[in-house]
Amino acid sequence: MNAVVAETGTTDFSKHRNHAATAPAFLSVHDIHAYYGESYIVQGISFNVHEGEILALLGRNGAGKTSTLRTLARLSNPTLTHGEIWLDHKPLHTMPSHEAARGGLILVPEDRRIIPGLTVEENLQLAQIVEPIGWSIERLYELFPRLGERRQQEGVTLSGGEQQMLSIARALARDIKVLLLDEPYEGLAPVIVDEIEKTLAIIKAQGITTILVEQNAVRALNLADRAVILDTGTVVFDGTAKEVLDNKELREEYLAI
């Protein structure tokens, strides 16, 4: 890893990694490696998240953020070949995705994944089929009135922003311990982004742990407690959000801000 950084001629930030080994973590990711077929994408990532924390997972396009989240959610692609993931003393690395989800780890995927053929309401109902269940559908409609208005419309015909709301609402419909958000603001009008940000605050207030992937790093860092920065499938920084905001070099090198 050091070699990679050295090659690109940048400062070595690895000294910032990582307090994980010491603090008792709620979600602990230990040296995970994952492949898409034969391409090696997640190349040994470790970090810890504490209960109730918001962790910003940053990095440029193709750094492996989405791949990391998918690995955590135990989707079959990319395939985890090595490493451990512990959530609240449960070994997620041994579970398929539906069990991880039942354990309280919910991914809001980057392309929203609204299910074709189902109405808005059915998309939400689907999330409440197996225990444990989170917010009621009515409460979700209160949070996103737009969805309430369109409850009988087929989910995939919603506008881009509406779909994003539905995707987040669907996650909240489950009882969450850790919420993984992959670019939740994408395609949303600024007013709505504000709304969602408020929602995230509500979520945080409920003690839900969140991992947030976001291109608008400043926005994310303002919200987050801690940040992890990835590059080519490895962790290049792990520290507090403030550290990133204060470190100009780091910001320019990996976040272009």
Partner: protein, 404 residues
């Protein structure tokens, strides 16, 4: 060379060499040995290998590239056959006009069927083509008997007009020929215990196959071929790039229909008889299976698939109990009986069982077909771990979502 990239030219030469030396390669066992049963180097089967190779290569231009799965391609083969036999009955026993007519008629028919069927995609398209083929079969079997000979089919008769041919000598039968060289004529070479047959018809068919294969390579490497693959991947983007997918798919459909017609015409040239059952849905299904078995979207895969299925059909089905006993003659009798009892269900009348098992084993263990599987095994042996991004995309067919 020949407008091909080096690798493709090498492939073409490889196939050319294989076909040229097929009489040797397919007859590895001496005539009198117990394993002679496995020899496939006799004219009929060699002809079938190349003819069905053509059929599958053509089918693959449609299916492998565009992803449109036609379940009625046998109809074009059948129509081509009927055209060829009528050319022989009415004009001349020379195979050239017969084959040309077969290609033209099959092309026209596929233009008609494709023009209608391509209004739909996916499974809807598949069923439309199936419906046309089944109707062709049913009509040829019954109502169109005056043109098709019904179930019995058509054969050249001594009394046929054959306006361009000289009258037959006494007792002479009309024989398919290429300017006098009859398709049946063979030269036999006896070396030691081996017998090799060089058949005129086979070499005519092989040359046609090489031409067809060469054309297929050109199409695969052409902008047109790339457009067809683009259709398979994303028609929306295709449209918004200013391209009209319809004529491309239709052209691919007609080209593959003409390949089928060519195969049908050659079948008649090699064996002057046509029956309607070669248009039945199972015949259409067979070419689908050949293509998938070998590897859809690859150049040589469909030829391998065709060879595999025809080999099983013609060789395994002919092994009977007697042959089995002959093989195991060297064993003690009880062991003999045991082995025969075990193997017996899989040979002779059980050849379908073997075929079914082979289908399953191939898809389960060699996803992507024989070719891809072969490559995989080669990679495994040479311990090449990391995927090489520079690999030829044709040899890595991606899952094809446009299929029904």
């Amino acid at each position: 060379m020949l407008g091909l990239q080096k690798k493709d030219f090498a492939l073409l030469m490889f196939v050319a060499a294989l076909t040229a030396f097929a009489p040797f390669l397919l007859n590895p066992f001496p005539v009198d040995s117990a394993l002679a049963q496995f020899n496939a180097g006799y004219p009929d089967l060699m002809q079938r290998f190349v003819i069905f190779g053509i059929f599958a290569v053509g089918f693959n231009i449609l299916f492998g590239l565009t992803g449109y799965l036609s379940f009625g391609h046998a109809a074009f083969l059948g129509v081509g056959s009927y055209a060829a036999i009528w050319s022989m009955k009415l004009m001349t026993m020379n195979v050239i006009p017969a084959i040309i007519l077969a290609v033209i008629v099959a092309g026209l028919f596929s233009l008609f069927v494709g023009w209608i069927s391509l209004r739909r995609s996916g499974i809807y398209f598949s069923i439309l083509t199936l419906a046309f083929a089944q109707m062709s079969f049913a009509l040829a079997y019954s109502v169109l008997t005056p043109i098709t000979g019904g179930e019995t089919g058509l054969q050249p008769k001594v009394a046929d007009p054959r306006i361009f041919d000289a009258a037959l000598g006494d007792g002479e039968l009309p024989a398919a020929n290429l300017f006098g060289l009859t398709m049946k004529s063979s030269y036999e070479l006896n070396i030691g215990g081996w017998l090799f047959t060089f058949n005129a018809g086979y070499y005519v068919a092989a040359i046609v196959m090489l031409l067809a294969f060469y054309m297929a390579i050109r199409i695969f490497r052409s902008p047109f071929g790339m457009m067809l693959r683009a259709i398979k991947t994303n028609q929306t983007r295709m449209n918004y790039t200013g391209l009209n997918p319809k004529p491309y798919t239709l052209a691919a459909f007609v080209i593959s229909g003409m390949y089928a017609g060519l195969a049908g015409g050659l079948m008649v040239a090699m064996d002057t008889q046509v029956g309607p059952e070669r248009m039945f849905w199972t015949a259409s299904g067979e070419v689908v299976l050949m293509t998938i078995l070998g590897g859809a979207g690859t150049l040589i895969g469909p030829v391998l698939g065709a060879g595999m299925i025809k080999y099983m059909e013609n060789i395994i089905s002919k092994i009977n109990e007697g042959v089995l006993y002959e093989w195991f003659a060297f064993l003690p009798e009880s062991l003999q009986d045991l082995l025969v009892t075990i193997i017996y269900p899989f040979i002779g009348k059980g050849w379908h069982l073997t075929l079914g098992i082979v289908f399953m084993l191939v898809v389960i263990f060699l996803p992507g077909g024989l070719l891809e599987g072969g490559e995989r095994i080669r990679n495994m042996l040479s311990r090449k771990k990391k995927a090489d991004p520079g690999k030829d995309p044709e040899h890595h067919p991606k899952p094809s979502p446009h299929v029904a």
